[in-house]
């Protein structure tokens, strides 16, 4: 088809949309709702993936020591650790330092820790080891556990694993809900186009007499379906942007947690919005076109 014909098709698609405005509104709402949920799922999953990769990039192993270890033994262990493969940094943290950090982190609630002093400090001495790559973690943990001075070894793999689990659960359940909502949107758009086709069956017949091809008659209806999908995509993209920016504002305005939760900082809006919007437009367009393709089997045969 020539460009001028495409223009005419788009124009006619808009006309159909407007003529059918109640059903159009229902369709746009349905597809927007489905895409909105899809956007929420994606935002959650993208943030969790970000957290996981953040954690993985600074994999840390913390080795807690038993009580009353002599300084000479600690120095010895420090040299041992240094010889292990994959260590990028190691830091001895005495129980006193750990207590101070703890009090600092608790900020204005530090009075709760006032009861603890050098004598009854509940925290052990520890080594904080930064590992070059996640692959080395397993081996380092094994080696550390073998030492008789070591009480307990903690590492971020647990956290990574549980976040990964949550993310994949969110993905599976979220996508199931999205699937159902998209199916519902399909049904509604399908009906909208069917009504549009049905209400224009007399016109369609006339067009055939004049010599319009099947596709010439179909395209405005496909455009109508596609426009419904695209408008739904833009609406839900706007909603996601709005909701997410509110959330972003709230998260960044609570600095008390910034130290502890620095890993859980959410991604900035523009990073998540553009891919989501692009996906919305593709999904919305495809849903709209395929729903209207389904609608035109009956009345659009020559």
């Amino acid at each position: 088809m020539k460009i001028r014909t495409w223009k005419r098709m788009v124009k006619q698609g808009f006309r159909n949309l407007f003529r059918n405005r109640i059903m159009s509104l229902a369709s746009v709402s349905a597809i927007a709702a489905a895409l909105f949920v899809l956007g929420l799922v994606l935002a959650v999953v993208m943030n969790m993936n970000n957290m996981v990769s953040g954690l993985e990039s600074k994999v840390e192993v913390t080795v807690f020591l038993k009580e009353n270890i002599r300084q000479a033994d600690i120095d010895n262990l420090d040299r041992q650790i240094n010889s292990w493969e994959g260590i990028s940094e190691r830091q001895f943290i005495s129980r006193q330092e750990a207590l101070n950090t703890w009090k600092e982190e608790w900020g204005d609630k530090r009075y709760l820790l006032d009861g603890y002093n050098e004598e009854n400090n509940p925290l052990p001495d520890s080594f904080r080891i930064t590992v070059e790559k996640p692959e080395f973690v397993e081996e380092i943990v094994e080696k550390a556990k073998k030492s008789s001075m070591v009480e307990k070894v903690q590492y971020s793999k647990d956290v990574v694993d549980s976040i990964t689990n949550i993310a994949s659960t969110a993905r599976v359940f979220g996508l199931m809900i999205v699937g159902v909502l998209i199916a519902m949107a399909m049904v509604i758009i399908h009906n909208t186009i069917r009504i549009s086709v049905y209400s224009r069956r007399r016109e369609i017949n006339i067009m055939k007499y004049i010599g319009a091809t099947d596709w010439y008659i179909r395209w405005p209806f496909l455009m109508e379906g596609m426009l419904l999908g695209l408008i739904g995509a833009v609406v839900s993209g706007g909603l996601i942007g709005l909701v997410y920016s509110l959330l972003e504002k709230r998260m960044s305005s609570s600095p008390a947690q910034s130290n502890l939760l620095s890993l859980f900082q959410i991604l900035p809006l523009n990073i998540i919005l553009y891919p989501i919007l692009a996906l919305f437009i593709v999904v919305g367009g495809i849903v709209g076109i395929s729903a209207s393709l389904l609608s035109m089997r009956k009345h659009l045969r020559v």
Partner: protein, 228 residues
């Protein structure tokens, strides 16, 4: 040339609307198809539009066998045939201008060609002043002129008219016949099914009379000779 060769049309309910019809119409001819209600006139028009298929026999238009035509070629075939009906069949959401322009948009004519040709055709049928009216704002005669303008705008070689004056008073009908006659004088073959006795009798054209699906008479400068 239009040619019916032993054409029989039996509808699904077993009714024989046309029975072994042989008929040839030369290019540029003007032919009235007359006969009592149910004689098969509309069936003949529908066969020519390839809206229905003959049960047996063959139809040729310009030596093309319609039964051999592929489905996807039908729209292109129809573009060569202008058609008007008793009930006008205009697109109700388009103005007079847009209805006529639509026939040109279908063939992907340029905006320039459309802007040149549509007003010319509208003034030819005497509708220049109504270009921006909607069909619902027009009289029957004006609606039929619009339909004629639309049938005319792509210069078809054949014009099919199924009782084009059926809904019009006799003065308006006479105006419409003038336009159809003018189209015929430009070289378009005209086939017109009608019940309008005075029109047939005053125009002195070829008249083919059907009765119960059979051609019962075919006369040059003929007359409408039976009573309904």
């Amino acid at each position: 040339m239009i040619q019916f060769a032993n054409v029989t049309k039996e509808y699904d309910n077993g009714l024989r609307a046309l029975n072994d019809v042989n008929l040839a119409v030369q290019n540029g001819e003007f032919v009235f198809i007359v006969g009592p209600s149910g004689a098969g006139k509309s069936t003949l028009i529908k066969l020519l539009l390839k809206e229905i298929e003959p049960t047996s026999g063959k139809l040729f238009v310009d030596d093309v066998d319609l039964s051999q035509m592929k489905r996807r070629d039908i729209p292109f075939y129809r573009r060569n045939i202008g058609v008007v009906f008793q009930d006008f069949r205009l697109l109700s959401d388009k103005t007079v201008y847009e209805n006529v322009a639509y026939a040109m948009e279908i063939i992907e004519a340029s905006g320039k060609a459309i802007r040149r040709q549509v007003p010319a055709v509208l003034s030819m049928v005497g509708l220049a002043s109504k270009a921006n009216s909607y069909p619902s704002q027009l009289s029957g005669g004006e609606q039929q002129r619009t339909a004629l303008a639309r049938a005319l705008v792509n210069n078809p070689s054949i014009l099919l008219a199924d009782e084009p004056t059926g809904n019009l008073d006799s003065a308006t009908a006479a105006d419409i016949m003038k336009i159809i006659n003018m189209i015929n004088h430009r070289g378009t073959t005209v086939l017109m099914a009608t019940h309008a006795k005075e029109i047939v009798n005053t125009m002195k054209k070829r008249v083919v009379t059907f009765q119960k699906g059979v051609v019962v008479s075919d006369m040059e400068k003929g007359e409408y000779f039976f009573e309904d």
